[in-house]
């Protein structure tokens, strides 16, 4: 590794040279290979081993199960649509065909997201003369996972630019943004290009080659769309019962379908303490409570869905585990985290059930609560201030 270090030092561009961008890129690459040996000068002499890179890498590791499952499922849904496999066939049937097909569809989206996003970050870093902050490492992976597989690549690029610039850099970059970057990208596409982001056409790749045709009765709708129409019954007929939805062989955005894979990621995040268990727990609790209330009310078939079923379809689990727990845009106080998460759960299910035009309530719920999080914190902190002031008056 000494050789690599020496090589990197040799090609190091000047920080104040003609090409500030070159230095930023070099710095970004160098710190990716090596954690620089800066030492503490004043204050504490020893430091915790963790840094922001490691934090972000942990989240990416947590996303890997969802990513791999998503890749497989893209292929699975494709061949299911063509009738080459059925829902009854063994998961290993055409395993590699499915996986490679999925990879060919998903990887380009990831490459575009990272390429464009990091490009924008590098330019801003060079312009502002500070080093690259690691925030986009996670956003760059989240963006592809919340998009439908058939989204055109240029749209991914445009959405990423919008999200990074308007969602983050205008506020000052990593750590300063108000709303979740990945969800900003998704919301942008959702409202700018609704035909490519919703409906029954986009969730499964049905690109046909010669001699191929879709199976009879193919619909391409997601369980959420079906549930709006027909409730539990419709879900069961489309092979999206509670168990099937939990495992995740259903149509949907790339990374969101398998609650099981998301659960593995959640486990890693909770063990390492990277994500807040308070937010995760309270989001699921909020969703459960709202779904339970609707279930008791039961005004339409969608409402009659069991609460658990509500939680395993759509992007709810993915949002609760990976989006709501974003520390920058979420509530920062421990008490606030409970309130913040609980309301996300409530609103996600409420929007989903009341407004069939926006089936993906969790995205809007999280964005809304991102905006509300500072307000929640404000009142939590104000309560603390009040309590501490009270100490004086009690004594007096």
């Amino acid at each position: 590794m000494k050789a690599l270090d020496n090589f990197m030092q040799k090609i190091k561009p000047k920080a104040d040279g003609k090409f500030p961008l070159a230095y930023t890129v070099w710095d970004g690459m160098y710190t990716l290979f090596f954690v620089p040996g800066h030492t503490n000068k004043n204050g504490v002499h020893i430091r915790d081993g963790i840094d922001l890179k490691r934090t972000m890498v942990m989240v990416i590791l947590a996303l890997v199960p969802s990513l791999l499952f998503g890749i497989y499922n893209v292929g699975h849904q494709h061949f299911l649509a063509l009738g080459e496999v059925t829902t009854a066939s063994h998961v290993c049937d055409m395993f590699w065909d499915k996986f490679i097909f999925g990879a060919l569809k998903v990887l380009p989206i990831i490459i575009v997201s990272y390429g464009v996003g990091l490009g924008v970050e590098f330019i801003f870093a060079a312009f502002n003369k500070h080093s690259i902050q690691e925030g986009f490492l996670v956003s760059g992976m989240l963006i592809p996972l919340v998009l439908p597989v058939d989204v055109p690549l240029w749209m991914v690029g445009v959405a990423t630019v919008f999200a990074v610039v308007i969602g983050k850099e205008v506020f000052g970059g990593t750590g300063m943004n108000i709303v979740n970057v990945a969800l900003t990208a998704r919301a942008f596409l959702f409202f700018a290009y609704p035909t490519k982001m919703s409906g029954d056409e986009v969730w499964i790749n049905t690109g046909l080659e010669e001699g191929q045709q879709l199976v009879d009765g193919f619909s391409g709708a997601t369980p959420l769309a079906q549930a709006v129409k027909g409730g539990t019954e419709a879900l069961n007929t489309m092979n999206a019962s509670v168990m099937e939805s939990f495992i995740g062989f259903i149509p949907g955005s790339i990374g969101e379908t398998s609650t099981l894979a998301i659960g593995l990621g959640a486990l890693l995040l909770l063990i390492t303490g990277i994500a807040s268990w308070r937010i995760m727990l309270s989001t699921f609790a909020g969703g459960y409570v709202m779904a339970l209330l609707f279930n008791l009310w039961g005004a339409n078939p969608f409402m009659e869905l069991t609460p658990i079923h509500q939680l395993v379809i759509g992007g709810f689990a993915f949002g609760a585990v990976f989006m709501a727990t974003d520390p920058v845009t979420g509530s920062q106080t421990n008490t606030g985290k409970y309130i913040y998460g609980f309301l996300i759960g409530i609103f996600a299910i409420m929007i989903r059930v009341f407004n069939p035009a926006y089936p993906e309530g969790v995205m809007l719920a999280i964005l809304f609560m991102n905006i509300m999080a500072p307000l929640i914190d404000h009142y939590v902190v104000a309560a603390n201030v009040k309590r501490r002031l009270k100490r004086v008056s009690v004594k007096a």
Binding site: N42, G273, V381
Partner: protein, 449 residues
């Protein structure tokens, strides 16, 4: 009436090289230094010039704002150098020690028979006054104030910290004499906060005329600020004085023997120290005689503990308040893919290192930052190690934006930089928290005066 306090939030950093409980050496310092920089916000005025002869207890400089507060020489000898920094700021006043220490004589009396003014005068003249610090601002106490109460901490929970009980053992008479003097200074109580994790030494448990509180739990339980917060929190307008139990011994000696005797025992600890143990030396002593031949190469010398101490060179000097000299490995090496390494040898308060699986491991940490400074991203990590009913991040942010009003509301009067040391240790974004808190306190002091 005593209080039992149990602190839950916090963390002990288990470092290699804790001092063994025996005195291995008595080092007679050849050179002693008093550093005005040990006292935040102090503006020093010199009372001596190079070449002057001084006795132990003769003033070297005094506080420009409160001229009664004198800083006196820990040894007798000759003033050999006055080191100045930028803008002629005084950094060090150096005294070359005599072989035989001559003491200035002060009033020798049982403090309980003296009036408050007499006690104060004796303490101010002899130079033991600066041992008393005050909250708010964590600076030397203003002798014109009458504090609500005085808190003495008899426990140090910082990494590799000295055992106060071991050092003070058998000195009950001195300790009590010091306490009797302190009792005179307040209309309220004097609190002695002793170790609740283990049996405290009888010097502390048998102390009279004070309220004895037991403090249990991980670091920062030994920080006097945390103890005050749990026992009787400070409100705006109140002043509480604080000091370390070991300083009470020095005060006791003043009243018992009528002299400023700055000799003290320090813990000489750290993974690079060949034989970590206790050493008898003097306040402000040059450390070269202590470390020579007793440490491995490539160390960082810290007067104090690794969380709050001051970096000094290998021929540097101990600081005024420190009873500890720590030597740990200096970092500086780049770590290949450090963000992915399993990290059996790194101690982390997060769960991202495998070292989490070995709770009793002793660590040999170096001075690497293990990352670069970033914006604050991760939430909740300060709160885990900050056992006050105060929101540390919000307070820090109010300091960063100079919001005096919010600093007050969020509790800046109760805190000292040392209370944030663990937050700074744990910070993923490598924020220099203690530095900011100090700046905030200085700003507030300026605003209020």
């Amino acid at each position: 009436m005593s209080k039992d306090v149990k602190i839950k939030r916090g963390a002990n950093i288990n470092l290699k090289g804790a001092a063994e409980k025996l005195h291995t050496n008595t080092i007679t310092a050849t050179e002693v230094v008093l550093k005005p920089t040990d006292f935040p916000t102090l503006i020093p005025k010199l009372s001596v010039k190079v070449g002057d002869k001084v006795k132990a207890g003769s003033p070297l400089f005094y506080n420009k704002e409160i001229e009664e507060v004198l800083f006196t020489s820990p040894v007798s000898g000759e003033v050999v150098d006055i080191v100045r920094g930028d803008k002629r700021k005084i950094l060090e006043v150096k005294v070359k020690a005599d072989a035989e220490i001559q003491y200035e004589s002060f009033k020798q009396a049982d403090a309980s028979t003296l009036s408050r003014e007499e006690v104060k005068e004796n303490m101010l003249k002899s130079g033991v006054w600066p041992f008393i610090r005050q909250r708010p601002y964590d600076i030397i106490a203003n002798p014109k104030d009458t504090p609500k109460s005085i808190h003495i901490t008899a426990i140090d929970t910082a990494p590799l910290a000295p055992d106060y009980g071991f050092i003070a053992h058998g000195k009950s008479a001195l300790f009590q004499a010091g306490l009797d003097a302190l009792v005179k200074l307040t209309d309220g109580k004097v609190h002695l906060n002793i170790n609740g994790n283990a049996n405290a030494d009888e010097v502390f448990t048998t102390a009279k005329n004070v309220q004895i509180n037991k403090i249990a739990g991980p670091h920062p339980a030994g920080n006097v600020g945390i103890q005050i917060h749990k026992i009787e929190p400070i409100n705006k307008g109140e002043v509480v004085w604080t000091l370390k139990a070991l300083d009470v011994l020095t005060i006791g000696k003043l009243f018992k023997e009528g002299k400023f005797d700055a000799t003290r025992s320090i813990a000489f600890a750290g993974s690079l120290v060949k034989k970590p143990s206790y050493i008898r030396t003097v306040l402000g002593a040059k450390i070269d005689a202590i470390v020579k031949g007793n440490v491995e190469e490539g160390g960082r010398y810290i007067s104090g503990n690794p969380l709050t101490g001051t970096k000094i060179s290998e021929d540097g000097y101990l600081s005024f308040y420190d009873y500890q000299l720590t030597v740990i490995p200096e970092g500086g090496n780049n770590q290949f893919m450090g963000w992915l390494a399993p990290g059996f040898d790194k101690f982390s308060l997060s769960g991202t290192f495998f070292s989490k699986l070995m709770p009793n491991k002793q660590y040999d940490l170096n001075t690497n930052m293990n990352g670069e400074e970033r914006s604050l991203v991760v939430t909740g990590e300060y709160e885990k190690v900050f056992p006050m009913d105060i929101y540390p991040v919000q307070l820090l942010k109010s300091i960063l934006v100079d919001d005096i009003d919010n600093m007050e509301k969020l509790g800046i009067y109760e805190v000292a930089p040392e209370d944030f040391a663990l937050c700074e240790y744990a910070c993923t974004s490598k924020t220099p928290v203690q530095h900011y808190v100090r700046e905030g306190l200085n700003k507030l002091k300026k605003e209020m005066s």
